[in-house]
């Protein structure tokens, strides 16, 4: 589960955690949203061009994620103060979590921490029971978009309908 060299994979139970989140520093974690899908978007840093585009895109796409009842959480090793200013500058209203102290601890537990001292650019979608439904590791300079997330949420919706029969 906490393989230091590899991103957590589908089927594994997602490690529980909370981290302080922008804008107000309250503790936020996936366990608070049990019963709904949770999208964890690990990214290297606030303010760098690709990250800005990715998080700005995710804000624009947020209504589509909300149609699935999904909760989106951005995570990097930046501080709450940095997250707050970054969120304001890009109009981001979903929580940005500060994996700041101890630095990168949550990213490491998900196998999403790079030796250069930042989170990887990695997406992890948790199903409503807190299991990993899908994960994806991008090169740091490539914005992975939203299509893989939406495809996974589609699949989870279908699976749940099957379960309900």
């Amino acid at each position: 589960m906490s393989d230091p060299n590899g991103l957590i994979t589908a089927g594994q139970v997602a490690p529980g955690f909370t981290l302080p989140a922008a804008p107000d520093g309250r503790e936020v974690g996936p366990g608070q949203f049990r019963g709904r899908p949770v999208v964890l978007a690990f990214y290297p840093a606030d303010w760098t061009p690709v990250c800005s585009d990715q998080m700005a895109l995710y804000q624009a796409a947020l209504p589509e994620l909300e149609r699935y009842g999904a909760e989106l959480l951005g995570i990097s090793v930046d501080s709450v103060d940095s997250h707050r200013a970054f969120a304001r500058s890009r109009g981001i209203r979903f929580p940005l979590l500060a994996d700041f102290e101890p630095k990168g601890e949550v990213s490491r537990r998900y196998g999403a921490y790079a030796p250069r001292g930042q989170s990887d650019r990695a997406l992890v979608v948790l199903d409503p029971d807190g299991r990993v439904a899908w994960s994806h590791l991008s090169p740091p300079e490539v914005n992975p978009g939203v299509d893989g997330i939406l495809d996974t949420l589609d699949r989870l919706g279908t699976d749940r309908r099957v379960d309900a029969r």
């Binding site: 590791l137 978009g145 299509d147």
Partner: protein
């Protein structure tokens, strides 16, 4: 075991149909689909190059334009897109599209209204239509289709359904179109 980096080749999932705004011959062997944001400076930089590609390869390529406004970063982008749709409903989509990309620093409501007038449309009527969000669904449909196809920013181009992950200078765009035409 290290997780391999994953890069997928995104493909256009929403085919070009008669609902699209298309410029160029209907039977062109190469179709470029642009997902754009009228307030995005990178789209503005690509605009003259795309126009030049259409001019230099007039028999080969057609361009379809779809909306991808990132409204949390570009506060005027949504109104600009809906105004282009209002113009499209009156047969003037491309005239409005061109005006918007040629006046990216004038997308505020006052200047936008002047622009509508300059392309020969009634500004009050168009303004009221945009004000009651008559074209918001259409813009949203473009945006959602874009994210499903792997659009991750603007501009994003698809050349014969394959996402173009390179740059937008004229030489590169010509090379990509020529390669698609020869394929």
């Amino acid at each position: 075991m290290t997780t391999p980096l994953q890069v997928t080749t995104a493909r256009l999932r929403i085919p070009v149909t008669e609902r699209d705004h298309v410029r160029g011959p209907v039977d062109a062997p190469v179709t470029v689909v642009e997902y754009g944001d009228f307030q995005c400076r990178f789209c503005g930089a690509a605009y003259p190059n795309l126009a030049e590609v259409l001019r230099q390869r007039a028999d080969v390529v057609r361009l379809a334009y779809r909306h991808f406004p990132i409204t949390n970063v570009h506060p005027y982008a949504e109104h600009a897109a809906e105004t282009a749709e209002a113009a499209g409903a009156r047969g003037r989509f491309w005239e409005m599209h061109d005006w918007l990309y040629e006046h990216q620093d004038q997308l505020d409501p006052v200047h936008l209204s002047l622009g509508v007038e300059q392309v020969g449309l009634p500004p009050d009527e168009v303004g009221a239509e945009v004000g009651r969000q008559a074209h918001a669904d259409r813009v949203r449909q473009d945006f959602v289709g874009g994210i499903r196809s792997g659009v991750n920013g603007t501009p994003t181009l698809f050349v014969n359904d394959i996402r173009h992950d390179g740059g937008y200078d004229l030489a590169e765009l010509l090379a990509v179109v020529d390669a698609a035409a020869g394929a």
